[in-house]
């Protein structure tokens, strides 16, 4: 009699408790980058996308961001690793290297270039390691950038390329861009820098070479220092093309590259999936599909350059 009642109570409890809520937990995301200015874009795009996917700061997401020069990155990576984050977002290959060295278990979402060539992943489709994320096309696009710049200033005869000593694929760049230059009847010179202090000397060298065009090669550091570089270029009277569409607004004549918004959003997707338990090695590395062109008409006018209509038609963003 009492037993029977107990069984029935238990059954009722079972039905009632069926919809009990699952417990919440806090996910930690670490961010490592040489570019502190990127933090703004990260907040605007990555965090917004993460919130959309159910990971909101102040609710179930805790953020730990570290920025520093290339030399400082390994130390910062150690620091982040000790916090035992659930995922580490590494912007630039130097950050990825530092993160890989600092930890052997934390999944890394990269925002960099050439993951296969750098040894981070076995293939784009099946990375197989601890690194996934987005692969920005850099070296290839730099050639395209030179082409665009030449279309804008067809009369130019001398071009310069600013390279960063930490950048990867500089040799590829020199070769492919050299080829294009020789076909187009351009004289080309390459100028490598390691830190901000080297910039003036590089520009002096360009001037000395009589360069009219400047390709600022794709590199996080150059994205960080875009305003300095734009000012130096303006002083040198160089028509510049930079890595991102947004860099045109910051002072480059042209900015052409993958959609940064898209890539950040993709990065957020990777982070979310890793939070949900996916193994980074199973997540294919994505390449950009959308490319954006930015044109700074102010700079054009200051340089006395006429932007062809064809290019203006292609531009996604025109700064007046």
């Amino acid at each position: 009699m009492r037993r029977l009642a107990a069984i029935m109570l238990f059954l009722l409890a079972l039905i009632a408790g069926h919809h009990a809520a699952a417990q919440d937990r806090i996910f930690r995301l670490a961010i490592l980058s040489p570019n502190p200015t990127a933090m703004e874009a990260i907040r605007e795009i990555v965090l917004v996308q993460l919130a959309r996917l159910g990971f909101a700061e102040g609710k179930n997401l805790k953020l730990d961001a570290r920025f520093g020069e290339v030399e400082a990155l390994p130390g910062l990576a150690q620091e982040l690793a000790s916090l035992e984050p659930d995922a580490l977002f590494a912007s630039s290959n130097a950050s990825v290297d530092a993160a890989l060295a600092a930890t052997s278990s934390i999944p890394i979402v990269m925002f960099g270039q050439d993951p296969v060539g750098s040894g981070y992943a076995a293939s784009l489709a099946r990375p197989g390691g601890r690194v996934t994320g987005v692969a920005i096309l850099t070296a290839d696009l730099d050639v395209k950038r030179l082409e665009l710049l030449r279309d804008v200033v067809p009369a130019a005869r001398r071009a310069a390329v600013l390279l960063h000593s930490t950048g990867r694929g500089n040799d590829v760049r020199e070769k492919s861009m050299g080829d294009l230059a020789s076909r187009a009847g351009l004289t080309i010179s390459f100028h490598s820098v390691a830190r901000v202090q080297d910039y003036p000397a590089a520009f002096a060298a360009m001037r000395a070479a009589g360069a009219e065009l400047l390709v600022v090669s794709a590199n996080t550091h150059f994205a960080r220092d875009v305003r300095t570089l734009a000012e130096l270029a303006r002083q040198a009277g160089l028509s510049t093309v930079c890595e991102w569409q947004e860099m045109a607004a910051a002072g480059c004549l042209l900015g052409y590259g993958p959609s940064r918004t898209e890539l950040y959003r993709l990065s957020a997707n990777y982070i979310a999936r890793i939070f949900r338990g996916a193994a980074p090695g199973d997540l294919p590395i994505e390449q950009p599909a959308n490319f954006e062109l930015g044109v700074n008409m102010q700079v054009a006018r200051a340089l006395g350059v006429t932007i062809p209509t064809t290019l203006l038609l292609r531009a996604d963003e025109v700064t007046e």
Binding site: M8, I15, A125, V143, K144, R273, P284, E286, A289, T310
Partner: protein, 973 residues
């Protein structure tokens, strides 16, 4: 009284809850069952309806998704198409590049666009990533993107993956003009993601696209696409690819993680792609689950109510029943004064009242029952006493089988005790009187074993015997007039008399008399008791009688068996030998034993002299034996003769009673007083007589006489057998000696004959050779005839000699190695001329590679020569063939002719001495008839056989079969 109550309590505890549970279970089962059936039916129908509705919705979603993807592709195609239709399409390249750049801006999915001229050469390529190319002239005229586009205006390539990761297709569009080129665009299919991820299918559902190979092209999880995931193994994809039929019904499939999904698909027309719309089954069926839960809750509620109602009802039913049960248990436990209190006002109360009434009645009848039981117990005690008495008597019977006295004593004793008699006497009918056998309570001197009572109606016991019934006299003193002869009158302490006859098969064999010292009649029961003791006494008497009889019969049988056994042994002993002397010895020895006589002798009858003569004896003292041997017993006038004539045994119990007999005095003198004479006669032939003597006078028993009669006939047979055997043996020995003499004589004679014959032949030869001068022609002819006949005679003599030697055991084989081929050749050579003379063909067939034989070569040659000679001799036309083969370690020789043949009857005979096939032709051919006999002996000496096969008129074949190596054969033998 306590133990059963405790048991009932246990039982109550054990069964107590059962009825209660049954009620509840019944209720719950009834209500719950109804609810369950109802719920299940409702669920089933709603499941079916839901499923159909879901399938329909899913199918529609699939078609909508397909339409959207088609729209996406159409948009791209349309945008590319713009560039081909433009007015300036055939104008300057720069213009076209401008157009292409615009396309790239408008269609973000297009990564690269190029233009091929009418010959399929690349004129222009504009790319988002790579350098633009102008006028490369690369030849694509044989590429499908050129050929197919020219043929069909629009062409979609199969899906391919750039960098093994990003899905692309090539879209090629031909220009409108006759010699216009083809515009080729590379389209990044990642952009379908925007379309596909916007297709919402419920909460967790999604759409995806696969190409004709089942490769994933678009999926909300772009990672799966980039990984080039192959979906062809998913059941729904497999089914769709196999069926190729669009618009199929939604089915239950699996997603890539193996979860069950409700899935539908639709084709994307221009590309042969298929779009699938999957929805997790859990979500699809969520409403169904909700309804299931509702139904389950309802059922549960129903069950709770059912249990509650069941509890209430069961309690109402069970409490009075338990009261009934407890009351019944108490009553059952013996508390008959207990009354059950149930006030429910229904059937249960009626039942309780019934119980109470029943208890009251039980209480009443219980008292009566106890009284009856007491009575029965007393009766039983008495019966037990009687039974004990009976069993005691039986025990006495059993413990002393065949002994009557103790049994009767026990009967008297127990009868006295149980019938409350002061004295009991038992008498047996013996030669018309009643003999006292046992008593109890009677003074010993009143009756003894010799006491005999007359059987008279004037005495109580006598009347009981005569009238074969119980006689009860309550007061013998008062009944003196009726029973004047009663011995009871003699004793003052006898008043009441009861006499019960002992009856066996209706015949009185005695009487049992019970006496009381006071006048107190025996009760009916007591009389019955005495009667039953009387029956037991009869049984005991009968038993004793039967046992005595059995004993006598058994003794008789044992004696017979022993006699038969003895006879059997004697028979075996007598016939165990054929030696006459032994037989006779055995006969006399056994005869004495069988007849239990001191001496036994056999006399032989001589018919010629009509006399008996002592032949053999045993147990006779030597002097008497000598006397007897010298004595002739004449047939007439003697007991022996009398016995033989009558063919019957005769005995004399005492010799002294006999007068004037030749044996009488001698026998008496030797101490023999009785005699039994058994004739030895068989089939009317008188052999003699068997005489047994005993030292003491007295008759021989019948059985002994019969025994000896049988023994005598056995003895005759044995003696006759022994005599016959002895005779045969004597004859045999004589024959053997005669035969030896004959052979010896023949051997000697032949030898003696041969010597002069050799001389005759020798001289004839010399004469014919002309050593004694030239002979006249006539003389020459005569001499030749002499020589020929002489040789023939010599041959005959040699044959006889051989045979004689063989018979006398003088012929021995000279064993040596020989070649059988050589023997055949020499025989053929010797007989060739004979054959030729008769115009016969003589053939020799000797198998090749014959082994070397071992035997008497000369004798074997002789045999073969004899056979071949015979064959030639008896064959007038045709051929004679000699053949030889070796097989199984033996030589098989055969001589075959085409002569007249030998009749079957003659075939066995011809190998005997002096036998020839007896007909005119043989006589014409001559011969002694010894050749084959000698041949047979020789072959047999070699351990072989010689046989003939023939039919009259069809020739004959003689076969010799001998071991190749004679010594081997002998060793084996």
């Amino acid at each position: 009284m306590n133990a059963p109550a405790a048991t009932t309590k246990d039982e109550m505890a054990r069964h107590g809850g059962k009825l209660f549970r049954k009620y509840i279970l019944l209720f719950v089962a009834l209500v719950g069952g109804t609810l369950l059936v109802n719920g299940a039916l409702e669920l089933w129908f709603s499941y079916q309806e839901n499923k159909q509705a879901l399938a329909r919705i899913q199918q529609e979603k699939a078609l909508a998704a397909a339409a959207r993807i088609e729209q996406f592709l159409d948009e791209i195609t349309r945008q590319i198409g713009w560039t081909t239709r433009a007015q300036w399409s055939r104008t300057v390249l720069e213009q076209r590049r401008f157009e292409y750049l615009q396309l790239l801006r408008q269609a973000p999915a297009v990564t690269e666009v190029s233009h091929l001229d009418a010959q399929g050469r690349e004129e222009l390529r504009v790319s988002r990533l790579a350098m633009d190319v102008i006028g490369s002239g690369t030849d694509f005229s044989s590429d499908p993107k050129f050929i197919e586009a020219r043929a069909r205006k629009t062409w979609f390539s199969p899906v391919y993956f750039r960098k093994e990761s990003e899905p692309y297709i090539t879209v090629a569009l031909a220009g409108t003009g006759r010699d216009s080129g083809v515009t080729v665009a590379e389209v990044n299919l990642k952009f379908i993601w925007d379309v596909i991820s916007r297709i919402k299918v419920g909460q967790a559902g999604y759409a995806y696209v696969v190409d004709t190979r089942g490769l994933l092209i678009a999926h909300p999880d772009i990672g799966l696409v980039l990984r080039k995931t192959d979906f062809s193994t998913l059941p729904q994809v497999e089914a769709a690819l196999a069926a190729k039929a669009a618009g199929a019904q939604a089915i239950v499939g699996r997603d890539s993680a193996g979860r069950q999904v409700l899935t539908a698909h639709a084709g994307i027309a221009p590309l042969d792609w298929t779009v699938f719309v999957d929805m997790p089954l859990t979500e699809a069926f969520a409403p169904l689950y909700a309804s299931t839960q509702r139904t389950a809750a309802l059922i549960l509620l129903g069950l709770v109510l059912a249990v509650g109602a069941g509890l209430l009802l069961a309690r109402r039913m069970v409490v009075p029943i338990q009261a009934l049960q407890a009351g019944a248990a108490r009553i059952g436990g013996g508390d008959l004064r207990h009354r059950i209190e149930v006030k429910t006002g229904d059937e249960l109360e009626a039942l309780a009242d019934q119980f109470n009434r029943m208890t009251a009645q039980l209480e009443e009848s219980y008292a009566g029952l106890e009284r009856k039981v007491q009575e029965r117990t007393d009766e039983l005690a008495r019966s037990v006493e009687e039974l004990t008495a009976t069993s005691e008597i039986l025990r006495v019977i059993a413990s002393s089988p065949g002994k009557l006295q103790p049994v009767l004593q026990a009967v008297a004793e127990n009868a006295s005790r149980l019938s409350e008699a002061d004295h009991v006497t038992i008498h047996r009918v013996d030669q018309g009187e009643l003999r006292f056998v046992a008593s109890h309570g009677f003074r010993k001197d009143r009756m003894t074993e010799d006491t005999r009572l007359r059987i008279a109606p004037g005495a109580v016991a006598g009347r009981a015997v005569i009238e074969r019934r119980n006689v009860h006299v309550p007061d013998i003193v008062a009944a003196r007039a009726e029973y004047p002869d009663s011995p009871a009158h003699r004793y003052r302490d006898v008043k009441t008399v009861l006499a019960v006859p002992l009856m066996r098969e209706g015949i009185p064999i005695g009487v049992i008399v019970a006496l009381r010292a006071e006048v107190r009649p025996f009760s009916e029961k007591q009389i019955d008791l005495v009667t039953s003791f009387a029956d037991q006494a009869v049984i005991a008497i009968e038993n004793a009688r039967l046992l005595d009889e059995l004993q006598a019969r058994t003794n008789d049988l044992m004696r017979s068996v022993e006699e038969l056994k003895a006879l059997g042994e004697v028979g075996r002993a007598v016939s165990s030998t054929l030696d006459l002397k032994t037989v006779l010895e055995t006969v006399v020895a056994r005869g004495a034993t069988l007849g239990e006589a001191e001496a036994c002798s056999i006399y032989r009858y001589r018919a010629a002299h009509k006399q008996f003569k002592l032949w053999h004896a045993a147990g006779l003292d030597p002097a008497f034996a000598t006397t007897l041997r010298a004595l002739d017993v004449r047939e007439d006038e003697t007991l022996m003769g009398q016995a033989v004539r009558a063919r019957e045994p005769v005995q004399l119990a005492d010799l002294r009673a006999l007068s004037n007999m030749p044996l009488r005095d001698a026998s008496l003198a030797a101490g023999y007083h009785s005699v039994l004479i058994v004739p030895l006669v068989r089939a009317e032939r008188v052999f003699g007589a068997l005489v047994l003597n005993r030292r003491h006078p007295g008759e021989f028993s019948n059985s002994t006489v019969n025994l000896l009669r049988t023994f005598a006939s056995q003895s005759i047979l044995a003696i006759q057998n022994a005599q016959l055997f002895q005779e045969i043996e004597d004859k045999g020995r004589q024959l053997e000696i005669a035969s030896q003499h004959k052979s010896q004589f023949l051997a000697n004679m032949s030898h003696e004959l041969r010597t002069p014959l050799n001389a005759i032949l020798g001289y004839t030869e010399l004469l014919l050779d002309g050593l004694y001068g030239k002979l006249g022609e006539k003389a020459q002819g005569v001499l030749e005839r002499v020589q020929s006949n002489g040789k023939h005679l010599l041959g005959l003599i040699n044959d006889v000699l051989d045979l004689a030697k063989i018979e006398a055991g003088q012929l021995t084989l000279t064993v040596s190695d020989y070649a059988v081929g050589a023997i055949v050749q020499s025989v053929v050579a010797a007989t060739e001329s004979l054959a030729k003379a008769k115009g016969l063909e003589l053939r020799a067939e000797v198998a090749p590679a014959m082994p070397l034989g071992c035997g008497d070569e000369r004798r074997l040659t002789q045999v073969l020569l004899n056979l071949v000679g015979n064959a030639i001799k008896f064959t007038d036309a045709g051929s004679v063939t000699v053949s030889a083969v070796a097989r199984d370690g033996r030589f098989k020789l055969a001589v075959r002719d085409t002569g007249p043949g030998i009749a079957e009857d003659d075939q066995a005979r011809i190998f005997e001495e002096f036998q020839q096939v007896d007909n005119s032709s043989t006589r014409k051919k001559g011969g002694t008839g010894l050749g084959l006999a000698i041949s047979r002996r020789i072959i047999e000496m070699h351990g072989g056989t010689i046989t003939v096969e023939s039919e009259l008129g069809a020739g004959a074949t003689f076969r010799i079969d001998i071991p190749i190596r004679v010594d081997d054969a002998r060793e084996v033998a």
